[in-house]
């Protein structure tokens, strides 16, 4: 009888030790949907110095721009492929990056008040905009969106908080959102995205809301207010929309991602503040990847996390 009890105790001990071994320090990879992470602090290829914008190319490759003024391309698993640098970086670095259907890459060169257009090899093929607050001028442009007809939409701030529309040949068409939009002026529109239905979603960051416009610039509605719950935002800095209409909002101040239905209803959120995997620190951008995965630019942690919550 004693023998049996002792053996059982030892077996229980083993089980405890192994459970401990298996449970310790690897929760992020198992519990909360993180399926990978890449980057790290550095200037070498594949590392980041405070990444701020992300976009997924048509073939699934990922582009990330960081505060070293580099655009880096990675394969969907996060392996480094290629990079190029901005022509000038002394005044500041870009905060927005968008891939056109034809493969061209539009970079909001924020502190130079212009939009730069690169081909997929990183060659500068065009640019538009100069500093100012008139038509065809920018003050700190933040993001670019392109509709099905090739028209380009650019958000900007610093007194110019508005959206400007440009022809496919980079000719200024119109500006909108300058006056009050549903009670408040736009305050640092930080990101743009256009859904299948032709609605322009604008992350009105410092008003902590998402504003929807028609492509002609008419206001449809505004979603959310400041807060940490569902239907609430803290500094939404990026928006991406999947083919099925699901909207992904990246909250810079809330350290989380927020999924919205095509109608703008909150579905779920993910993330909390911190340094571990599965946690975010000042995320500036997020984008849908293949297989329902999401890439989130975890800026302060200088990495990109791949999640499938």
């Amino acid at each position: 009888m004693y023998l049996m009890t002792a053996h059982k105790l030892m077996l229980a001990g083993f089980i405890c030790v192994i459970s401990l071994a298996l449970s310790c320090d690897r929760p992020a990879l198992t519990g909360n949907g993180v399926i990978g992470s890449f980057g790290g602090v550095g200037l070498a290829s594949g590392l980041f110095n405070y990444p701020r914008a992300i976009s997924v190319e048509n073939n699934g490759a990922i582009l990330v721009v960081d505060k070293a003024g580099r655009v880096q391309r990675f394969n969907p698993e996060g392996d480094f492929l290629f990079s190029w640098s901005m022509p000038e970086t002394t005044k500041g670095k870009p905060v927005g990056l968008t891939v056109h259907n034809d493969g061209r890459i539009f970079v909001a060169d924020t502190h130079y008040h212009r939009i730069l257009v690169f081909d997929p090899e990183g060659k500068l093929v065009g640019q538009f905009g100069t500093n100012g607050d008139g038509d065809g001028e920018f003050q700190l442009p933040t993001d670019v969106a392109i509709d099905d007809d090739g028209f380009i939409y650019v958000s900007e701030y610093n007194g110019n908080d508005r959206i400007t529309k440009w022809s496919p040949d980079f000719e200024f068409v119109k500006a909108f959102g300058e006056s009050e939009v549903l009670g408040k002026r736009l305050n640092r529109p930080a990101a743009l995205a256009i859904d299948r239905a032709g609605i322009l979603w604008v992350a009105d960051a410092c008003n902590h809301r998402i504003v929807r416009f028609t492509l002609d610039g008419k206001v449809i509605d505004a979603i959310g207010h400041r807060g940490r719950g569902l239907d609430e935002f803290r500094y939404p800095y990026d928006i991406d929309i999947r083919d099925d209409g699901t909207v992904l909002v990246c909250e810079y101040g809330g350290d989380r991602l927020h999924w919205l239905s095509p109608e703008g209803k909150s579905i779920k959120s993910w993330g909390s503040s911190g340094r571990e995997l599965g946690e975010l620190s000042g995320p500036w951008g997020a984008a849908f990847g293949a297989d329902n995965s999401v890439y989130v630019v975890d800026s302060m942690n200088s990495r990109v996390q791949i999640i499938r919550p």
Partner: protein, 1063 residues
Amino acid sequence: MILLALALPIEFDEPVWLWLCLLVPLLIVTSRRSLAGLDPVRRYAALLLRSALVIVLACCLAGLQRVQRNDDLTVIFLMDRSHSVQAMQDEQEHFMREASKNISADDRVGVIDFARHAFLEQQPLKGGYVIPPGRFPIMQGTDRTDVAAALRLAMAIFPHDTAKRIVLLSDGNDNMGNLLEEARRAAADGIPVDVVPLHYKHQNEVYFERVIAPTHAQKGEQVPVRMVVHTDRATTGTLLLYVNGQLLTLPKESTALSLQKGDNTFVITMPVQTTGAQTFEAVFRPDDESQDTIALNNSASAFTFVSGPSRVLLITSNADSDSVLAAALESEGVGVELRDVAELGQFDLLQMVSYTSIILSNLSASNFTDDQQRDLVTYVKDMGSGLIMLGGDESFGAGGWIGSPVAEIMPVSFEIKHKRVNPRGALVIISHSCEIPRGNYWGKEMAKRSVDTVSSQDYVGVLAYTYSPGGENWEVPLDLATNKAAVKAKIDRMQIGDMPDFGATMKMALRELTVGRGKDAAQKHVIILSDGDAAAPSNALVQDFVRNKITVSTIAIGWGGHVMQSTLNDIAKKTNGKFYPARNPKQLPQIFSKESKVIKRPLIIDEPFMPSVLDAHSELIAGVDVGDLPQLGGMVLTSPKDNPNVIIPLIRPTDDGEDPVLAHWQYELGKTVAFTSGQWEVWGGQWTSWSKFAKFWAQVVRWTMRQDLPANFDTYTRIDGDTARIVIDALDKDASYLNNLQLTTRVVNPSSVTLPVKFVQTGPGKYEASVPVDQAGQYLANVQIRHNEKYLGTLRTGVSVPFSPEYRDLMPNEAMLRQVSEITNGRWLNEIPEEAGVFKHDLPPSESKRPAWDWALAWLLLPIFLLDVSVRRLASWLAFSIAVEFVVLIVLLFGMDFRYASWSHLFGAFVVAELVGWAVRFRHIGPFYNYLTHGVTALASTGQRSEASLGQLKSSRNRAKDDQQTESVYKTPLYETDESLQLSDGDAQQKFDVEGSRREERADKSKGVSLTDSLGGATNDKEKDAPRGDKKASENVDNEDATSRLLRAKRRARRDMDEDKKD
């Protein structure tokens, strides 16, 4: 053990401890007896474990280290960015880029660039050279080359576990630090320095060798200024001579020069008309600029101290008001020069020492640059001069002097310790991250600076957007600035994030200043530090600030060119604050001095009072009849310094203390005076008409004045490379040598840093000192001369370093580079990067040692100890094997660091532990097997056992009957029946007979060990054999009568008792 260390990758820190291993044989001998009771296998296992225990312990004490050998290579490039090779940056970048191509994946590349300072541009990283062409930051301090600093930095950042190589790209013209010493250090560390020499030769060069002027002269004397110009080839040009910054008009024949190859000397003689330091600066302009490569070396300067009557400088911002004081001093025979602060121009230490004392009349700190404030301190403490600060609404604490270097040397503290100082000021700093390089660093420096300038009675708080959790936070909650060091430490720790908008933080500031801690403050002020790219606050919020009279000043940090000024300008304008576009960091101190004044109004007492005498023995008022001191109209509040040297002759008495009006003390060599009232037109109307006004001030000023007893000694100076030599020839009136003089020297470099310099007597009446001169500018020396403790006088001299030796380098210094390469066993590399072989793996592999004794202590010593106990105490092999298994598993799991191990490794560890466990219990597997199969066999044999049991019961009954028939008086003991039952059951316990049980009981009592009992294990083999013998005996039991059994039992008990006694 040593041999083992040679074979294995381990080493010992102090191998002497390994002698402890000699204890092993001793242990074996002594343990044999104590372990005699165990069976041989356990005994040998225990001996082995004990020996291992001692060996591991010895290894731990000897400092066991793991040695890791690694073939990877780290190369750090040192890139020379000094002026002499400025044109060769592209070549250097090209070399580094090309040489780093095709390196193996595990090799690392680091880059350091250097001139006066060394900077790390690329951490040693895998993945090659990653700096894009032309992306090196702008280098400051290119006027010097400090290769040693770069070498030092490189050695500090090498990863410890790779082979190391330094590649030095330079012209070898090192003019700071000690390169060869650093090279020897690298050689000692086994780091070769490969050298890539940068070749150039300036063919056409003209430079000023030196300007020589006499160190001292008398006013009105003719002074010869000697100039030496060097040229590589004959050339012509123009000579310009500036005296105290004014261009001297000279006849054309003196200025149009025709130079011959080599050194050319010219002399211009001129009279000196003003006293004090006269600076002569000579500039040569070649007619054909192509004949000169480096323009920075075309000028040189020298200075002469011109003796004359001593003078005092009165600096003011209100010359009308202070002319009364100047006139009063003149009337008492004190020479005064009254100057408006706006017209000070270049006001450096050399200018200052022309005056024996300086008076600052109602001037705020913002009137002086940081350098000038430092110079004022040097002027007092090292040059032995005087400084008087007069009060006013712009002076002392109200003038932003709190926290400045000048505050240190004054006899009063500008901070108020009075509890009655009310109302207070409140300052909130909003810090935003800045996009420019080192923007956040400057943001923090400025925040700290502003904390310095507030009084400890003011509120201060810092707001910033920080991460984790992201958002606006009070990094320093608004509170009294009593512990500034703690506040500054908090600022240093801030991780300033990119603030999306100013509105959120401004709202927090507004709340705290209106309904929070700062609501009672009289002055409420907010400073925003930013590059301006956050979103603007709403108009309503800005109006709230205006309504609550909270001013907001904004400082745009952006000397890189990027400042979004419009938002910042707007905020400041609307809230009645000020907008400062700071274009370089040097502007910041003045901005803060101006800003801090905003919350300094409470320090001013604007009401008349009668000053009274506190210390009538003070030298400043001695002899002045102070019985009829007139009324003063106001003053600035200060508090006396807690120092016995501070003397306070005049005060303003109040209900709860005394406010200093006049205070003075000696500060090192100089003297300072604080007079906290002033601005005569407003506060001092009655004073200026006081009959003793002139006498009083003349006495005060005279007390502070430097005692210039000119020592009539010849002095001359000479610059020799990095060293200036000052020579003094000391003769007395009779022209005989003065020996054994005591010379107290203070030498101040152009950055106002006092250098440790000592004069040494090198001959009869000859004294020499060497001064390291590594900066261009004026070096001033103040020498106090004593002979046999008698003060003979003060001598001022100095040298002017015209330009850095960097601008004199016309060709590379290959000899120096070769020396570095030879000392470190480095190579002289080909300038063609592909052929340089920078990443050739021809260095011995690196060895990194990591202490392993702590690991051995935790994961070997403890398990071995446990095993040692188990092998002796755990009677059951099964239990022992489980213990072994457990220990092995624990050691493996922690040895591989299970948190980061893969699944396969974890599974492997489990399998290994199981294998070891099963190996131990292999011979004794039967009982465990029985235990596992007990249920099945029990079921299968239920029928047979029932029959057997019945049979046994029957036979028992028959035996009982037989016993009764023998009419025995004793009953058959019950245990025999039990025993027979147990035997047929086949249980382990059946093997123990009665005697065995008793023996066990005795063992338990004598040893107090309950492990066997509690674990239910078997005892040793002898004990196990016993039941077998007794079983046969029990078969004969029936044949023996009860009496004989009793007798046998009695004998056995007696024997056992005897044995117990022996024990």
